[in-house]
């Protein structure tokens, strides 16, 4: 790599990875699982995520600049570390593929009801491949461009202020919510993306100051989620939010632009680039993990291989509900990884440090 990433790149990179297709279902998740004024739940979940990020920060500091395979190599024998990394690689690749599939299915709801998703997914996968092989530094450039082009979208929602009413929020807090823990898991899954920071270690400048970018990205994501859900809770009535599948999409549809009708289809199409970033970066993580285990193989082959295989695996669920279900499962696995992996690394490194004979 010829250049190093700095904090600003990292903020945008991680923030864009975190924001994905789940943002459209966020108000419904809050309403269903947390009840009236459920938008408040975003804050405690945000704090939990913050704790997780702090965990990763601890890992980075303990590791002293070592990249993930080196850290694992400190206390795990090679085959075990290899198997673990390959497993994670497969998991991330599958998540990425399912995310892009969910986007395609949601898009097809509106504009292409009769087309089978494999058509679009082929094109998208080719694009993802092109993006993954240009390297993380160039990838962060692409993500920055995408960030600047799509960051206007949330601001258009502020024009819906007229249609929100204070009384619709109801004075009751957190009533009528069901399955609070399921809701927590789903909200947590919306924040996933910060674990990318673990894999950025070899590409950043010296020291750990770059990690502030991760905290900043998390904060930005929390703020955006909060604002959007608050507006949604004022725009829709509570009962309505429980029923609608993609409330934010509906809301965007009410924004009126003078020249174009049905702004929601256009907005969702622009959102494609944001969903693309999430999927691409997860694929990038998967490729990195693969190349940790087989460092000599040119990176383009594992990328192509992973994309190819997951294309077929994720062809199995073809309906929106099934895909959402699979994604929920992958989300749970990813959450476990995000929490357990840093713990494992910390524990392992502390043990390795204790085991090492003290050098004078």
């Amino acid at each position: 790599m010829n250049e190093k990433l700095n904090a600003f790149h990292i903020v945008i990179l991680i923030h864009m990875t975190q924001v994905g297709v789940t943002i459209f279902s966020l108000p419904r998740i809050c309403a269903t699982h947390f009840g009236t004024n459920g938008w408040i739940a975003i804050l405690p979940v945000g704090l939990m995520v913050l704790a997780n990020v702090a965990l990763i920060h601890a890992v980075v500091r303990l590791g002293g600049g070592r990249s993930l395979p080196d850290m694992l190599g400190l206390f795990l024998p090679k085959p075990v570390a290899g198997a673990l990394q390959l497993g994670m690689s497969g998991m991330y690749a599958l998540s990425a593929c399912l995310t892009s599939k969910q986007y395609v299915l949601m898009y097809e709801l509106q504009s292409f009801p009769a087309t089978r998703p494999y058509v679009f997914r082929a094109g998208i996968d080719v694009l993802i491949f092109c993006l993954v092989i240009i390297g993380i530094y160039n990838l962060s450039k692409a993500v920055t461009v995408i960030f600047f082009s799509t960051m206007v979208i949330p601001f258009t929602l502020l024009s819906l202020y007229d249609e929100t009413e204070l009384v619709r929020y109801t004075p009751f807090f957190l009533k009528e919510g069901t399955d609070v823990w399921v809701g927590c898991l789903e909200l947590y899954a919306a924040y996933l993306g910060f674990e990318l920071s673990l894999f950025l270690i070899p590409y950043v400048g010296r020291g750990t100051r770059w990690f502030r970018g991760v905290y900043a990205a998390n904060a930005v994501t929390t703020v955006i989620y909060l604002i959007l859900t608050i507006i949604a809770f004022g725009f829709f009535s509570y009962g309505q939010l429980r029923d609608m599948l993609y409330p934010l999409l509906e809301m965007v549809g009410h924004v009126q632009l003078p020249i174009i009708e049905r702004v929601d289809t256009l907005m969702f199409t622009s959102f494609f680039l944001v969903a693309l970033v999430t999927a691409t970066l997860y694929f990038w993580i998967a490729t990195e993990l693969f190349s940790y285990v087989f460092p000599k193989i040119d990176k383009r082959w594992p990328a192509a291989f992973l994309i190819f295989i997951t294309y077929f695996v994720s062809s199995i669920p073809e309906e929106l509900d099934l895909v959402t279900g699979w994604l929920r499962l992958m989300g749970k696995i990813a959450i476990c990884t995000a929490i357990l992996l840093p713990l494992l690394l910390i524990g392992g490194m502390l043990i390795a440090r204790a085991r090492r004979p003290k050098t004078s």
Binding site: Q110, F112, A114, T115, V119, P171, F172, F236, S237, Q240
Partner: protein
Amino acid sequence: MRKFLAVPVLALVTMAASGCGTQADKRVLEELGMISVMGFDLEEGRGEEEGNSNRTTVLFPVINPKASVEEEVLSVTSRSNNSRQELSRMTDRKLVFGQLRTAVFNARIAERGLLDDLDALLRDPTLGTRVKLTLTDVNVHDLLTFKHPAIPRIGRYIDLLLEKEAVHLFLPRANLHTFYRDLQDDGIDPVIPFINPSTDSIKLDGIGLFRDDRLAGRVKAEDMPYFVMLYDEFRQGVITVQVGQTEFVTLTALRSERDVRIRRKAGGALAAEISILLNGSVVEDFGYKNHKTKKSREELIRKINRKVEEKCERQIRLMQKLRADCIGMGQYARRLYSYPEWKKLDWRETFADMDIRVKVDLHVKDFGVYP
């Protein structure tokens, strides 16, 4: 190596040429029948074993420069609401709903309960929730085939009529989104306006008040502004008030703001006061009396205030009688109760027993350029 590339490239090119899998979804513009208005009627069941069946009417513009009509109306009767198959057999165009703007319901369907009929509209992701809703007393088919030389396109006419009024807020905005929202909110009931054909045109003919999803009653056409004053804020309204035997005052450029205050009385009942602040200009004073003096003007304003209050309170009593809280008193009353209390409460009955007063405060910006 390079020779092997030719095969996948060729495959891609042929795929591209054949439309690459999206052929089924090609909706080329000029082949479409883009339905702009859709209507539902109730047909009485002929036999006892059949229920009532629905008659679905669709209207879409004709894309043929040589055609003599501007719009085409198709109608089909079926038991479920998905008459799409039947309709698509009746035309050479591909019928699509993406440009649907208005859905018209016959009042009798509304009385039966609108949620089932709205299900198709709500579920379809290609529609969007800004589809406007309206009710009518006549057969929808007759409405949509209304012929008048000054109205070449009914679909556009209806759309603009509803849109213009909604913008000026002379009419509460009623679309899929607002209906479903107010339906699901336990503190307010939805409303939908009426349009009816008359000899000269199609006009707005009142507002339908709903109890849940059933039509319970209506606000008459001449009382519409008073309802809207209670419901939301005017931005550019016009009302004519009769202040004396023969004197009628017309106020225009009317802006209103409303403020709702609710409190609990001893004994558990509720009392509310709605203060309406009106701001307008007098543009006509029929049965003119000289209003040059300040005292005389204040007297006039007081009379107007009283008249408006009377009319507003009449609307409120209508709603209370119908047990339909269409102005959203429940949303304000929620604040007074704790959650378990609110859930136990029968809001409709409480609403019916409420003591609601209206206080109007009119500020006249000017009396026109004539004394």
